[in-house]
């Protein structure tokens, strides 16, 4: 997620940091390691250098946007397909089990007032849990409780992949009325889970890591869709976009502090929390991080992150002239724009909840508004060059379009389609 490919050894940091804080060595290292495109732009005169740098950034910015569109769209399609096909997620069944974080369950026939206060209460509880967890995460990182942090992360990834993956598999089998023996099930789940954990937390092909991150985000989103009461979901999404703005942009916001800490320590941020597009070309854009702490394992109330032990990373980077395969692998991972996994989850929650209505117009409208919001955010990112929250614009647009499409456009379009009037 660095700008110019192998940026500073710490990894993903905004260009602001790069120009201010970087010592000489790392800058020369940048020059040595730049790939052909960068060499072309860097061979220009020094006065042109900054402008051409910006040019290359903006030009490659589009490819970075597309690199993020693809996983976001893939995640959304996965969630929509699951919601449409698997009855357990499609809101038709009365939900008896739910989170402990949303203790109020408004029934359909309650009065409007009851529904309102219960929804607000649920959302406030959920947001405060998320906020507290994020702060705990930042504190753990700040005081370098690496063992605790690492253990927590690995444990929660395990829970996510094994438990929710198993639940998902159960639903598929139920819908198809298929039987699967324990032995096969054990082998399949074990392999799936262990490979996932290894890819995310340790080493593995970038593509596989990306797939696993998308799958875990989608599973998480499906659980949210299943467990949260209807109106609570919408209100939580609205509150989350506000929280995201606060957490990333305010000076004492937890994510802001986290980024500063990571930057000061020249550390790479948690791979399990962040999706890296690893573009392979020097995509000189900045990290878009959000809601890192909102990637919760709800049943255990733990935030998920992963902390690759920083010591190893530093040792690998030390010998500059060495182009070991480990370095290219970590470098590959550090290139490209990064997007927090929380973003994937909540985009998919929005879209999945919308598709529960089984009206494709609404689903399409939500997908479109989220993609437009994401591209707007990335364009703004290209101008401001600091970490930005990715949730607010997309979720706001998504929510606006969800409600307007449901109540305004859908009746109109239904009528048009029935009468076969083509606009």
């Amino acid at each position: 997620m660095t700008q110019r490919g192998e940026d500073n050894p710490a990894g993903p940091v905004g260009p602001v940091r790069r120009t201010d804080v970087l010592p000489e060595q790392t800058q020369t290292r940048q020059r040595n390691q730049s790939n052909p495109v960068d060499r072309v732009s860097e061979s220009s005169t020094s006065e042109n250098e900054s402008s051409s740098a910006q040019d290359t950034e903006l030009k490659y910015g589009a490819e970075a946007v597309i690199n993020l569109f693809i996983p976001v769209t893939a995640c959304m399609i996965f969630v929509i397909a699951s919601v449409q096909c698997l009855s357990s997620y499609s809101g038709q069944q009365k939900q008896t089990v739910s989170f402990i974080y949303t203790p109020f369950h408004p029934a359909d026939d309650d009065s409007a007032g009851t529904i309102i206060w219960q929804t607000v209460a649920n959302s406030l509880i959920m947001i405060s849990v998320i906020a507290v967890m994020t702060f705990v995460l930042v504190l753990l990182y700040k005081y370098e409780c690496n063992m605790l942090l690492g253990g927590w992360l690995i444990f929660s990834t395990m829970t996510l992949i094994f438990m929710f993956g198993y639940f998902y598999l159960q639903q598929i089998l139920k819908v198809n009325n298929a039987a699967l023996d324990w032995v096969t099930l054990g082998i399949v789940m074990w392999n799936f889970g262990i490979v996932g954990i290894i890819c995310i937390h340790w080493k593995g092909p970038l593509f596989l890591q990306q797939c696993y991150l998308i799958i875990s985000a989608a599973l998480m989103a499906l659980i949210f869709i299943k467990m949260l009461p209807n109106w609570t979901t919408w209100l939580i999404l609205a509150f989350l976009s506000i929280w995201d703005l606060i957490a990333v942009l305010c000076p004492y916001g937890p994510l802001n502090m986290l980024l500063q800490l990571a930057n000061d320590r020249e550390d790479e941020l948690f791979p399990a929390l962040i999706y890296s597009s690893g573009a392979g070309i020097a995509v000189p854009t900045v990290m878009v991080t959000t809601s890192a702490g909102t990637f919760l394992a709800p049943l255990l109330g733990m935030a998920e992150t992963s902390d690759p032990s920083p010591q190893e990373e530093v040792q690998v980077r030390q010998p500059r002239s060495q182009r070991s395969s480990e370095r290219t692998r970590t470098d590959e991972r550090r290139e490209g724009v990064k997007l927090g996994l929380g973003d994937f989850i909540f985009y998919s929650v929005l879209v999945g909840k919308a598709s529960q209505l089984h009206d494709w117009n609404i689903t399409l409208a939500c997908i479109l508004s989220i993609l437009v919001g994401l591209s707007t955010t990335l364009i703004i990112l290209a101008f401001f060059k600091k970490p930005l929250p990715a949730l607010p614009i997309s979720l706001t647009l998504g929510l606006i379009f969800y409600f307007t499409t449901t109540y305004v456009i859908a009746p109109f379009m239904d009528l048009c389609i029935m009468k076969q009037v083509f606009l």
Binding site: V37, V40, S41, S51, S52, D55, T56, L58, K59, A62, E63, V65, I66, F69, H358, D359, W360, N361, L364, A365, L368, S369, L371, V372, S375, F401, T404, T405, V408, I409, P411, F412, M413, D414, L415, C416, I417, M418, K419, Q420, V421, F422, L423
Partner: protein, 236 residues
């Protein structure tokens, strides 16, 4: 069309989505109008099911949004072109290519909105277009009509956007006839589709496809292409 012309180039994908979004917003404004007008003047459900006036207004709104988005596109392309691009000759969005991509966005989303629900209903219990107890819910050829007209709609939107774009480039005073052509064509297709419910589907299908061919011809001429072989240029 998407796979060949839009997908390989990232900036085009962005503008394709932008085009789709503009269509969506225009639809929003149109349906807002429909809801407000009809809930204000409803004298019974009969008025609410009459789409004539609403579709007229929606078409006008859509053309307005097409103009707006073309203006936005012109600004954005100007910005992009002014960036000193090394190693690449074109940004892929210059001139008619840009208009085409935008139009394709319009067309794709229009087509999807019109046909996806129909296709989804095809899977489920019941089918659109069946006659139940003597009450006709659309003609038996519902699907075919939907399919052909949605496809025609996509092509039309593409072509109209290209035409309008080039007319904007030339300046409206000189090429007002192009803008008029687009507006007339759109009103023609939508107008004839209003007949769809009242019996014969043929007026709409025939006029739509004639309009497609005519619009495509005008669009090709505006884009400066002499024949189909030169569409290969657009690929870049």
């Amino acid at each position: 069309m998407f796979t060949i012309f839009v997908a390989p180039n990232s900036i085009r994908v962005l503008f394709w989505i932008f085009g789709g979004f503009c269509w969506l917003v225009s639809l929003l404004v149109g349906s807002l109008f429909w809801i407000i007008w009809y809930s204000a003047t409803s004298t019974g459900s009969a008025l609410q099911t009459d789409l004539t006036f609403a579709s007229l207004i929606t078409v006008i709104v859509q053309e307005g949004f097409r103009l707006l988005s073309l203006w936005g596109l012109a600004n954005a392309v100007e910005r992009l072109e002014s960036i000193n691009i090394r190693g690449r000759t074109r940004s892929g969005m210059a001139g008619s290519s840009g208009h085409f991509v935008l139009g394709l966005g319009f067309g794709t989303i229009a087509c999807l909105f019109h046909s996806m629900n129909v296709m989804a209903s095809a899977l489920g219990p019941g089918s659109p277009g069946l006659e139940i107890d003597g009450v006709s819910h659309g003609s038996p050829s519902f699907y075919i009509t939907s399919a052909f007209l949605s496809a025609a709609l996509t092509f039309n939107h593409c072509a109209w956007t290209v035409i309008l774009g080039s007319s904007l480039n030339k300046g409206l005073k000189d090429s007002w006839y192009l803008a008029l052509f687009v507006a007339a064509a759109h009103l023609l297709t939508t107008g004839t589709s209003l007949f769809n419910n009242q019996g014969s589907i043929w007026p709409c299908i025939i006029t739509s496809w004639i309009v497609v061919i005519a619009s495509a011809a005008v669009a090709f001429r505006e884009a400066g292409l002499k024949g189909l072989a030169s569409t290969a240029e657009f690929h870049n």
